[in-house]
């Protein structure tokens, strides 16, 4: 088990570096960072000066290995735009994004699991059909569109939540809902099919024969088994929330990593983009690893075997 975790962690690092490599070349091919930093109207002289100052005149492979060397020493470089270490910048902004991601995951859990369970316990009833409707529409609606609709409904027409910002918990309600909604269809369907399968299992009949019914049966025997696969998918979804925060944070003007990512991409702030992509990749792969570990802990068949 320990060996497995170690191996997977190494693999995770390899993935993160590969992603950063690809991102590095794409960024530098798509934009001219020196031009972007200098501004549209800057003279060629200024642009050249900037190019030399930031080492942008070096060939791409040289620059990548310089970046890589820094990373291995724990140095992610300095932001072109903010003029301070990128690591500091990311650390400042991470709290907001983690809060948002966890809040979004809670929204997903609170909506998807009860809805999926109700649908499973009453298959083909109106509850089931309603749940299916929710899933289909949540899947069809893009994140940014849902975000705008929520702002219009609950911040403008019925002003119960602030339009933008990240000062109080009330600022997080709408963005967490928007970000959380995107995972509802997958988690709901997984809960529903899992619970339907479990309720038909022979061991549920055994539990009934021992004198279990209703809530006690559900708690002790059905939900635990049905939610096993759901928990690991939730961990994966949490990783995806970080990537998803790019759009949501921009819509709601939340100063987290997502917004930072968008700004630094537009501003060709390459060191910042590089570190963010690296961090997002690490988080994503780490969550996948976490999912596997949780599964192994909760399911005795995996733990031993």
């Amino acid at each position: 088990m320990l060996k497995y975790i170690l191996l997977r962690s190494l693999l995770a690092l390899a993935v993160a570096f590969t992603v950063s490599l690809a991102a590095f070349f794409l960024l530098n091919v798509a934009t001219d960072p020196a031009q972007a930093i200098a501004g549209e109207d800057a003279t060629q002289e200024v642009v050249d000066m900037i190019r030399a100052r930031y080492g942008l005149d070096q060939p791409l492979p040289v620059r990548y290995f310089e970046w890589l060397g820094g990373v291995l020493r724990g140095d992610f470089g300095e932001s072109y735009y903010w003029h301070k270490p990128v690591a500091e910048l990311v650390a400042e902004r991470a709290g907001v994004t983690i809060t948002l991601a966890l809040a979004a995951l809670s929204v997903t859990i609170l909506i998807a699991i009860p809805l999926g369970a109700l649908a499973a316990l009453n298959p083909n009833s109106w509850i089931d059909r309603m749940a299916l409707g929710v899933a289909v529409s949540a899947q069809a609606v893009p994140n940014f569109w849902l975000g705008l609709i929520m702002i219009i409904l609950f911040a403008v027409m019925i002003p119960i939540f602030p339009v933008s910002g990240d000062d109080t918990w009330r600022h997080f309600v709408l963005p967490a809902f928007v970000l959380g909604a995107s995972s509802v269809p997958a988690i709901m369907r997984l809960t529903r099919t899992g619970l339907i399968e479990v309720m038909g299992a022979d061991y549920i009949r055994t539990a009934r024969s021992k004198g279990f019914r209703g809530g006690a049966l559900l708690r002790r025997h059905a939900l635990r088994n049905a939610l096993l696969p759901v928990i690991s998918v939730l961990a994966v979804q949490l990783g995806q929330k970080f990537g998803g925060s790019v759009i949501t944070e921009s819509i709601f003007a939340i100063n987290g990593l997502g917004r930072l990512a968008l700004e630094s991409i537009l501003g060709a702030d390459i060191p910042t983009v590089q570190m963010l992509i690296f961090v997002f990749a690490i988080v994503f792969v780490a969550m996948n690893l976490l999912a596997d570990i949780i599964n192994a802990i909760l399911d005795p068949r995996i733990r031993i075997g």
Binding site: G200, A201, D202, Y203, R205, T206, A207, R208, S209, K210, G211, F212, R213, G214, A216, R220, H221, R224, N225, L228, L298, D299, P300, R301, I304, G305
Partner: protein, 327 residues
């Protein structure tokens, strides 16, 4: 008054929309006295398990009991509330299910699955319920029961799981145990031990047992009465000694003819020529007609009514009578 009195029980699974349902259990009547063992035999798919589920009130949806009555200790089970039925299950009526590989929850320890069967009905301390679970495991011959309580089902062989299921059924010394093929995965010695355990239970606690099996040798050794099932109906019932030595129904005769010697243990039912007809398209009249060498045109008209002969009953219009055959 018998402990269990099943009267004209019908359990149906819905067929194609608009069509008639499949009667997995069709007009089945039998009774079991306290302290007696009834052997319920019949080919695969004849409805033995569904009969057991019907008594427990655990027929898989969308199947359901659509006719007849089940009287347990004088009470019509259909009149009980969900909670009253729950209190009966596990405590007064227990069932050992057929497939030992699937009937235990894979993510809970054996100890948890046993102690919760106790605490579902009694307020006892954790230590006491564990001690009782441990004793029950010892009772069915599981070595080092204390340690085994913390094991998971996948760490047990099929035979061990079957014994765990039996141990769970024995926890409350129930009035009635329905044991569905409870010893198929067990070796000879353990099987003997389990059978003795059931016999002891029937004697000391006056427990009534319905033993579902393919194994006529076990029935002749253990059971007081036998009920032979074919395509959802009981085709022959009566005291084991009478029915097995002198069957009336050609199907029963076929089953017995299939056992090479009464003393051979574990012999399975011979394949009587032909196949069990599927419930959806049973032949008219007697369901056994297509496989019966005594069948006449009269057998195709109506399902044979039950003929009584003392404590015995059978559904055949040309019953087997050895004394008639020899003439």
């Amino acid at each position: 008054m018998p402990l269990l009195d099943v009267q004209s029980l019908v359990t149906e699974f819905p067929g194609a929309p608009g069509g008639p349902g499949n009667r997995a259990v069709n007009e089945v009547s039998f009774a079991v006295e306290r302290g007696k063992v009834l052997g319920l035999v019949g080919e695969s798919g004849s409805g033995k398990s569904v009969t057991g589920f019907s008594i427990m009130g655990l027929v898989d949806r969308p199947g359901r009991v659509t006719g007849g009555r089940i009287l347990f200790d004088g009470q019509d089970l259909a009149s009980l509330s969900g909670e009253e039925m729950r209190q009966l299950r596990g405590r007064r009526i227990a069932m050992v299910f057929q497939d030992p590989m699937m009937t235990l929850n894979p993510v809970l320890t054996i100890g948890t699955q046993m102690t919760e069967a106790i605490t579902a009905h009694e307020k006892v301390s954790r230590a006491e319920s564990r001690a009782r679970a441990r004793d029950a495991l010892g009772q069915v011959g599981i070595p080092s029961p204390e340690e085994r309580l913390s094991a998971y089902p996948h760490e047990f062989s099929g035979g061990m799981r079957q014994r765990v299921a039996i141990a769970i059924a024995l926890l409350h010394n129930p009035d009635l145990i329905i044991a569905d093929e409870p010893t198929t995965a067990l070796d000879v010695t353990i099987q003997s031990q389990i059978i003795s355990e059931f016999q002891r239970l029937a004697e000391t606690h006056n427990t009534a047992v319905i033993w579902i099996t393919h194994d006529l040798a076990i029935v002749s050794r253990l059971a007081d009465d036998i009920a032979v099932m074919y395509s959802g109906r009981l085709v022959e019932t009566g005291p084991v000694s009478d029915v097995l030595t002198d069957p009336r129904h050609p199907y029963t005769a076929g089953l017995i003819g299939s056992v090479p010697s009464q003393n051979t243990r574990g012999t399975r039912l011979r394949q009587i020529p032909g196949m069990t007809p599927s419930l959806g398209r049973l032949p008219s009249g007697c369901a056994f007609r297509t496989r019966c060498d005594r069948a006449t045109e009269a057998c195709a008209t109506v399902p044979p009514p039950e003929t009584h002969e003392g404590a015995r009953g059978f559904r055949c219009i040309h019953p087997v009578h050895p004394e008639l055959l020899t003439q």
